[in-house]
Symmetry: C2
Subunit: 321 residues, 2 copies
Amino acid sequence: MRQRPDCKTLAVAIALACASLAVQAADTSPALPKRPTVTDVIKASKPADWRDLDPQNTLYVELPSGRIVIELAPMYAPNTVANIKALVHENYFDGLSVMRAQDNYVAQWGDPTEKKEFKAQKKVKAEFDVAIAKDMPFTALPDTDTYAPQTGYSNSMPAARDPKAGRTWLTHCYGMVGVGRDNDPDSGAGTDLYVVIGHAPRALDRNVTLVGRVLQGIELLSTLPRGTGQLGFYEKPEQMVPLKSIRLAADVPEAERSHLEILRTDTPTFDAVINAARFRGGDWYKNSPDHVEVCNVMVPVRKKDQAQAAAPAVTPAPASK
Amino acid sequence: MRQRPDCKTLAVAIALACASLAVQAADTSPALPKRPTVTDVIKASKPADWRDLDPQNTLYVELPSGRIVIELAPMYAPNTVANIKALVHENYFDGLSVMRAQDNYVAQWGDPTEKKEFKAQKKVKAEFDVAIAKDMPFTALPDTDTYAPQTGYSNSMPAARDPKAGRTWLTHCYGMVGVGRDNDPDSGAGTDLYVVIGHAPRALDRNVTLVGRVLQGIELLSTLPRGTGQLGFYEKPEQMVPLKSIRLAADVPEAERSHLEILRTDTPTFDAVINAARFRGGDWYKNSPDHVEVCNVMVPVRKKDQAQAAAPAVTPAPASK
């Protein structure tokens, strides 16, 4: 939390002006050792540490303000993801609206009229959690979590596990995409999707089917004016944000695709990302947290043309500084 | 996460259209019992459960878009809070700018020129944590936390404790206000203040002096366009948002004050708020979390004129639904 990128001027001013404070007790805690930051780890990564997005599992949500890229998680919600892809293929979402933006919670889109017809399934059985399969990738965090026996990362997604029960589920971290539903747990068809834009509402875990994660463009949702109606719904039609379209990347011409790559989570490089979040050091940090909570690491994503550059990840860990 | 406030039409449509799905295995888990929500608890609260803000510890940050109300926490950062009040009294902040808005992290204001002079102290010794005093209010949460041995609430503020070390500190939850500093831990004078507008960056705990919490108006910061420079700083002066002024409520005429009240945390009503966040039930929830993390309860705040009305808190718990 530097005051700004270049603080030399301020530092000099402080040194000159504050000699009188030197009589206060000095901070006697030893400086933390220099430790790699997430940015350092990513700079040192190799091309093989990264993977391309699967265009069959990538959605482009086109708003007037730009594109949101979502990676889908069919391993955790196979039937719901299949139905969302069916809805996309029949252009169901085109012309619908972002109807809700609730501060520190979610932005949500769907059909304000509730009358648009579609051929895809009208309801899909809840996929709140799934059985842990042997071939399911999972990089566990060593730290305790308030809500789940175990947390970690499964491909690009934050996830939790209950090893005793043999169940696993995605967790409601910032940027996660969930399926709005009515009281009936099986009433969510994927027609109403929401994105977490605030502190992780983990009480929703295992109460909603999560289907993916926003990899790019979440600021198009997180900066929307908050709805003043109940639950952050917009009260007037003109406040809603039109959805131009939602497309599967595979259906978009190659030249119009967003070329992103994600850090593989089964690599020593990703282990180093986790360690960089857990153990802070260097000149700025005075106390290393020595722990990290699952929503405080985001699996890094970057534009492919940044691969050879020194630029950091598009989505670094929130507190990577 | 209801699809919208009134879903009757949709529910009927689903019931008619989806009879074919009835052959799928039914959800056999028993329904959760009806349990009070945070809104229910607040509706049932009594006037004595609430307290007024102390105008000597309340800041009004005036932006062109409206007012942000901050409650200060002098018990946790006495010297820094005193210096911020001194800066306010000499009108230091008037005409400065919000210079930074980093998605899922912080918005920050200060002096873009780094040249504005002031009479208050130029640096204040870090107040990252303080000794636990006997008269310090603290309502502990029963659940584990990833980062701290114990968490809970001290007046309106989320806080952590290390009982063995006898230390306590405020935690970086959504809406908390911190003091920007340079590498020197004692370099923060309160001239640069930031507000958490994303998932709690708890790695900053005990690395920054926290001085208070935004009680109202955080959406004026959380919806700001994100800065495209390093760390979310705005790259052009015209992108910055001017600070009209920061005033102590006590210095503002009574008729122009924001009349808010906060739920007392030393009451059975607040215990019931925590339980409402931990134990979910009723028609919508299918799995009760049975736990709550410190940043998933916000001590409720409401306008005083709502006290006799049925309206919910201005700032309900994020996942209170």
